[in-house]
Amino acid sequence: MTILEADLTPATLKQDMDRLFFKKKLLNFAVPALILVYMGYVFVAFDMAGLWQRVSWQNAQTLVSDTYSYKTHVTRDNRDGSVSVAIEGERKGAYPEGDSPAWVSLGETAGAETAIDLENGHLVRFGAESIEYDIPGYGLVRATPTRAKGVQAELPAGDVPDWISVSKNRLAIKTDAGRLTVTRNRAEVFRYFNGWELFFFTLDSPYHGLSIGEVLTRAATGEAGAILNDFWNNKMWRHRDVAWAIAETLLMAFLGTIGAGIVALPLAFIAARNFSPFGPLRFVARRFFDFLRGVDSLIWTVVLARAFGPGPLTGALAILVTDTGTFGKIFSEALENVDEKQIEGIASTGAKPAQRYRFGVIPQITPVLLSQLLYFLESNTRSATIIGAITGGGIGLLLTQAIITQKDWEEVAYYIVLIILMVMMMDWLSGWLRRRLIKGEGGKTKRKARADGKAFLLP
């Protein structure tokens, strides 16, 4: 029942298929092999093997532990014997003179003994002459700093463990309970605690250390303003500045995106084939868009910073310029796809050109316009974070500076959480607005648009 052409016997077919599958195999191997070779090349070019050795686990540990913990410094000035206690060692986290947390018992007079309880038996004493650290399971370490002879350390007999680092002028001990550093000038104890200390109120606020209930009752009795003020102006966490930074970032994204939309719309008409009869002008407009996009927001930021100086306006303008290029391209493509029938219908009533655009064109491109604007509003929130890091504005600057100066990882964590929340909120908001504003266009039309492959990608 098989009807085969003369030269298509199963035998020749098999040969053909063998060849076909051989080719397929080749292709199937060639593509992944090429990718693999490329990745191999990248691996070598990026020195990934060496990377593994360079990974700094210690940094990772610092980073991770610092994001959820804080340290309190107890510092003795070896020259005058004065002792100060400060959270994170910062002035704004310092305990008032003569005041200290319960685990530090200050001497009555300057130079008197100070005992620092690091718990679990770890005890540090700042004596008149020497500093002692009693380490359970190891023994007592004594260090005597002098101007002339440096730091003289007395350790229990035996090898020096690797968590103790001794040199002529310096002694450093790191244990699970805390850290002690002694140099000729200073002796310093760090004790670590979990949590984001002083997140709500700093030490100088009367509300520091109160429970939520207490704060609420005080708020109810008319101190709400003061409480909010103390929280808002918290010197350690600077909630007000952070809120402003977030607002600046959102402002850059908003002004930049909407401004770009407003500028790009009329320009897009010049670049659209069906609205701009003059070829060379169209060409110029298109290359202009390419130029704006190609230069990239990063470089626009630098260029504009000279004219406008640091600040959110510069960032907004950089976004505006870049996105004018992007929107110009998208809008002109949308304009080229408009349905001529509607425009003709309006034209046949004797409508003026502006009216033709208003009723024949605008209603058609509104959905594209709005959805693209909203998409970019969301993605520009991210861009604004980065641009802010360059122009000096917004949460991006706070974040990059906090990372670069490499302390305060808890603030880094705080900013990162805020940024993620901000971007996700904008994502959700833009999605919600898109659904609300373009509801005439049901799911079906949306699908169709996507099937055309016209869907434009957002950065």
């Binding site: 990377l51 700094s56 980073l63 402002l251 990239d296 640091p310 306006l313 991210r382 990372i403 971007v423």
Partner: protein
Amino acid sequence: MADLTAAPLTTADIRAQYGEMTRRKRLYGGIILVVFVALMMAGFRTADGRNAGSFYDGITHVFDYPNEVLAEASEKVTELPGHLVNFFPALIETLNIAAASTLVGLVFGTLLSLLSTRGMAPWPRLIPLFRRIMDICRAIPEIVIALVLIFLLGGGPVPAMIAIAIHTAGALGKLFSEVNENASLKPVEGLESVGSSWGQRMWLGVIPQVGPNYVSYALLRFEINIRASAILGFVGAGGIGYELKNAMSWGQGRYDEAAAIFLLLFITIVVVDQISSGMRDRLIHGAKA
């Protein structure tokens, strides 16, 4: 000849209803317009106020910086070819970062999208989890991951690559899962009935259907990633962005270098943009045929 409807509305009713609707629309439209304009104005004024230079003073100086750069670059135009050669390796590094992160992002994006599409996911109950993972990957700006990784791994291309790859995986994953939703599940069921594994079903049943779309989106992403990797160079991740930042911040005296680097970057972005949009057109139309 009038249409038969259940509710016999008189013209007066319709007039009243429509009039009411128009008035409401105009009111809302007016309010929205006013609010929008007010928001724009207030936003502009706030930004202007918090900026060092004001918009009106600055607008006349927009070309100062480009002029300065161009003046020096044109003065030393003979050195331009040499600079172009010098900085080419840095450009290659930037392109490598973009390409490698796009590839890695493509792989993870594909996996995430398959894991979070109904009908394809091997563990349907975990779909929301994978969706959230994609959302978070997308939400973190690359610069954040890059800076943290630079702290851990030291400067260089790898932190940038990982940072961009994470973002790419999230962004592509979302787009791919939309593509997947339009794919037919019949071949998948056909393959399931012969006792194939999940990997085989996806590779042989889904990927051939969605492949062209995937590649098209990945190309677009590659374009975006070139910019991203250039930007990350600015914060210490190597490549052309690093060179550009150094030349630009040195300023006078090295503007010729800055111009050369800028030229390289600009040409690359435009060329890749053109090539990839050509390829995307072919892919999508080829897929349709």
